[in-house]
Subunit: 196 residues, 2 copies
DNA sequence: GGGCAATCTTGTCAGTGTCAAGTTGTGGAG
DNA sequence: CTCCACAACTTGACACTGACAAGATTGCCC
């Protein structure tokens, strides 16, 4: 009495992993046309379910985007965790943005998110801890007198480069070079050994 | 025979400056709730006109946002024009973003814009010229060996700081300090006099 | 004064988010 | 094995939106 849970041509009443399917479709749409182009009904159609099915997993359109942002901060945190110094962390930050442009866009669009969501805030906090750890791992000679300023500078440089990159504002300047290497060179200008 | 063009309580058939009114209302909405919250019908209501009136000035929702972006690039270009060196240009860039967050957000959201719009492309090109002029005005000792890299670094730092600032991601780190001064300090870390 | 183009209105249609209520499957307790 | 509570999904409805077409009003220029 189990009519084709995963193989049948007649779609079963229960999707199996609708939550993941909706997330995946949403990420595709966002990467292609931006967050404003996601429509719950459209995602439902792509997954082959009724128009109100997504609401059961995400409650809201805002809930869906919040889930994406939380997932993104989690992915970013693990990416940064594997970095062995600040420069590497910056490269990983930029690479994360390039490989997960949909997540990245949503993560930094607070007006699209439920800011008091628990999963979101914990994931974001964890990513923040990883970022600060990378900064404080910098030897003090390279970091300058003010650790806090160094952190802001590093984050700004990486975030700005990543943002301009995925919005295609650097296409003319970077060309077909490897963005990782370009950013690697950039970090060399920021934290130079300074003399007294 | 001019029944109360600006003073009458009965609103006249012709608004007077509907285009500007719509733009202003849209900027308010975007600054408060982001670009996805703008609704042509809502803007029409705020201006006291019928729901289809905005279409006559902007054609589209995309047309409205494109007009905002074009205006933004124009404002940015004139702001940068008054800068006397690269550091000042950076400070002005950040200040522009802080004082015109709605423009800034829309300017760098290509998926919301009509990319082949003439006014947009010319305004954006002009702003790009101003940016490059500021970079090449840097004395070569401070700029490093690669002018192109220096430009990318400067733009990334300013853009990243501005973006993180207006998305309230630096609230904890900057506190109630003057963002201009914080950014001024940041630029000091980027272009240091380098030794051989 | 007469037309004419710009400006604005009214009406309509398909599409969307969200809520409420019903339907179907699932897994676990007895 | 049965039954029942709950999770997953559907159906239906409502208000709202963007876009288009067709008509009304106004100012302007000759």
């Amino acid at each position: 009495m189990n009519p084709a849970k995963t193989s049948g041509s007649e779609r079963p009443y229960h999707h199996g992993d609708l939550r993941r399917a909706i997330l995946g479709a949403a990420l595709d749409v966002i990467a292609a046309e931006g967050p404003s182009a996601v429509s719950l009904r459209d995602l439902a159609r792509r997954a082959g379910v009724s128009h109100a099915a997504p609401a059961h997993h995400f409650k809201d359109r805002v809930g869906l985007l919040t889930a994406i942002a939380a997932e993104g901060f989690g992915l970013l945190a693990t990416a940064l965790d594997a970095a062995d110094d600040l420069r590497d962390a910056g490269v990983r930050y930029v690479r994360f943005a390039r490989e997960n442009p949909a997540h990245f866009q949503v993560m930094f669009s607070p007006e699209l998110l439920r800011e008091n969501d628990l999963e979101l805030t914990t994931a974001r906090t964890l990513a923040g801890v990883r970022l600060r750890a990378a900064v404080s791992a910098l030897p003090s000679e390279g970091r300058g007198p003010d650790t806090r300023l160094a952190g802001i500078a590093a984050w700004s440089l990486a975030h700005g480069f990543a943002t301009l990159l995925i919005s295609h504002n650097l296409d003319g300047q970077v060309g077909d070079e490897d963005p990782d290497e370009v950013f690697h060179a950039l970090t060399g200008m920021l934290f130079r050994p300074q003399q007294p």
